[in-house]
């Protein structure tokens, strides 16, 4: 009996997740024909709380694309893949402490800040480099137009508050 109830509530949970995926998808389905532009898939996946990196995202897109890529992703292909990701809780977001430690790695002398030039260098030359637009946006949030330093602790705190 207990098993059945557990099963039922698990099924309900999955159904709820599926509806959540559908809602997120529909907001980007401009033509209302159950497809979205492939360039928006990353945004959709991240808006559902997952944080794949660019490489992982690339692989996910390959999974949901048509055999002959059309530039559009169909909902029928997206739904099972995305639901699975949510059920398995993959691509969890990064905890605040880890993020802080990452900044501290880039600031080995522990000044408590990074200069604008340093941040630009790391973000556009290392890892999975930012585009110019991404870099500009990050800077506009992190520092004022006159300033040259990012006090990363404050920055992180501000971003976290904003998200919640």
């Amino acid at each position: 009996m207990a098993d059945e109830k557990e099963k039922e509530s698990a099924e309900l949970a999955v159904a709820d997740l599926q509806r959540k995926v559908r809602e997120a998808f529909e907001v980007f389905d401009h033509e209302l024909n159950n497809t979205v532009d492939v360039r928006e898939i990353g945004t959709i996946i991240r808006s559902l709380g997952c944080c794949p990196n660019e490489g992982e995202l690339h692989d996910l897109i390959a999974e949901v694309e048509e055999e002959e890529p059309t530039g559009y992703i169909r909902f029928e292909k997206f739904l099972p893949v995305m639901t699975n990701i949510l059920v398995e809780k993959r691509y969890r977001p990064i905890p605040e402490e880890i993020l802080l430690q990452a900044f501290e790695v880039l600031d080995p002398t522990k000044r408590g800040f990074l200069s604008k030039e340093e941040l630009i260098k790391y973000m556009t030359e290392e890892g999975e480099p930012f585009s110019q637009e991404e870099m500009e946006e990050m800077l506009s949030a992190a520092i004022g137009p006159e300033s040259n330093f990012i006090h990363y602790r404050d920055y992180i705190t501000m971003m976290v508050i904003d998200e919640n």
Partner: protein, 649 residues
Amino acid sequence: MGCGSSSIKIKKSAKTIRAALIIQNWYRGYRARLKARQRYALTIFQSIEYADEQGQLQLSNFFSFMLENYVHIQEKDPTLVNRLFGCAPQDDRGRQECVGIIEVPESYSGPRLQFPLNTNSLTIMIEAFKKQQILHAYYVLEILFETKEAMKQMPNFTHIRTCPTKEITICGDLHGKLEDLLLIFSKNGLPSGYNPYVFNGDFVDRGKCSIEILMILFVSFLLYGDDLCLNRGNHEDFLMNMRYGFTKEVLSKYKIHGKKILQVLEEVFAWLPLGTIIDDEILIMHGGISESTDLNLLHHIERNKMKSVLMPPVPVDKDSGTETKKNKGHVPRGVKLSGSPSDYLTKHEWEQVIDILWSDPRGKRGCYPNTCRGGGCYFGPDVTSKFLNKNHLKLLIRSHECKPEGYEICHDGKVITVFSASNYYEEGSNRGAYIKVGFCTTLRFFQYQVTKATCLRPLHQRVNTIESSAIRILKERMVSRKTDLIRSFQLQDRTKSGKISMGQWAFSMENTLGLNLPWRTLSSHLVLTDDDGNIDYMTCFHDIQIQKPVKEAQSALIETLYRYRSDLQIIFNVIDSDHSGLISMEEFHSMWKLFCSHYNLHIGDSQVDELAERMDLNKDGSIDFNEFLKAFYVIHQLDNLNKSNTQLA
């Protein structure tokens, strides 16, 4: 030796890369969530906008119903019937009679224009508008009369040609946003014989400078003829203007002469051409098409008979049987109308015009009624292909829908939407765009966004602004349907615990409000959820309430009046044909009875009577309906942290 230090270097580098990856990953996630929130906010704005338009079109039903049942109006006030059905005895008040008596006083410090107009007139006017000066009613009326005469000569569709030396610029909806028009002129130059423009409708409503935009466009049209094409939009309609702000703008800027200006404008709007055709290849119209759009017919109809989309088509006379009542309204039997049937468009012609002003393209094949807006249809790529082929056209350029990037291409490149009012819903909501068409119909796209600050605010601030704005109007909508929503929640709350599941809550919201929105995602902004994931539904209404203008009035009544206040505004305005702002208690009673009966509202007569009595502040038997409607507004609890709660007597 060498190996040792280089391996440290490699380790350090790997560590750096990992750190960079973490930060990049995190930031991309954060940024994507911001973009998604921006999208959600736009979806909210758009859904509510279209739902409002639907309400507007449904009003047409009410007018018919009202006339059918309100016999007194017909007998006592034949002008009301004429107003609604656009009968032809237009008092062709002589232009002399109208304008001739107005004098521009010495003290007037605004722009003074010479007639006949010249290029100087345009620049003087624009400079004055930049300084927020108001053009004197005398000049406004002169320009309107001139424009009317000139437009009468235009065919329904203006045919223009590209040539190697000049490009044609196409702009979409402006909606009274003067800053956008000025930005376009500063980037692209003023209109002239060398710099032709097409403006694709919706010049007015919502923004604050609709009349100024009209003046600029009409003067340019008078100066440059075919090089300045103006197409009619669904907002070039005096009944739409009553709801969406243009009427209010004119009456507040032109206190004495506003009424005259509005009356002449009605006619000018009706004379606006329906579309423009470039090189016999590109068709430019405001809305779109339907599967039955007949371009030949549209070329030949008498377009000035389409006064307003709310005005039903030709009356059916007693002998030819009843028409089935559809959303588009019908003229009831037994209504005596002056003027012959030839003063009206036929039903078929009327539908054709509605379709081209109200339709939207969609990805789904076929043609479906446009249920969001309540008028026109959704047309698919197959409908587009068929239409373009049949008429030997290559491209349809239309406007009518706000797009985040200012323009959007769909239907395999055969349909382009261009929208020129940036920040349409809220600061930061979208860009504006215009299209330049060159020789052999080559296209170039230009985008822009008006900003008050010298540099763009950070993304998260802009998103916060539009998000809170959108949630605010959504909550207002919710509180205006509070009774229905609570009933729906309670029906699902079997155990009477005050809680229901997320799925049940989303279902109620969608069905009661009639808005297709991502409810699960929005739930965190609207309602409290407990640890089990269940929704405490009464918390929907915790931080927002409708102000009660009169303490004793019951909540249900207040809610109804709040919900229908836009419709009531229009109805009152129509009844109040002399624009005095007052209607008699008798008129109020009768109209209210009809309204309740038609919209199926269960409000006791005595309640409304009492309310009306209280609102008759002068005790002289008349109601100032603007005051009446202003009394119904919504308080957002959070606002009260800053100001004190004022209660109206």
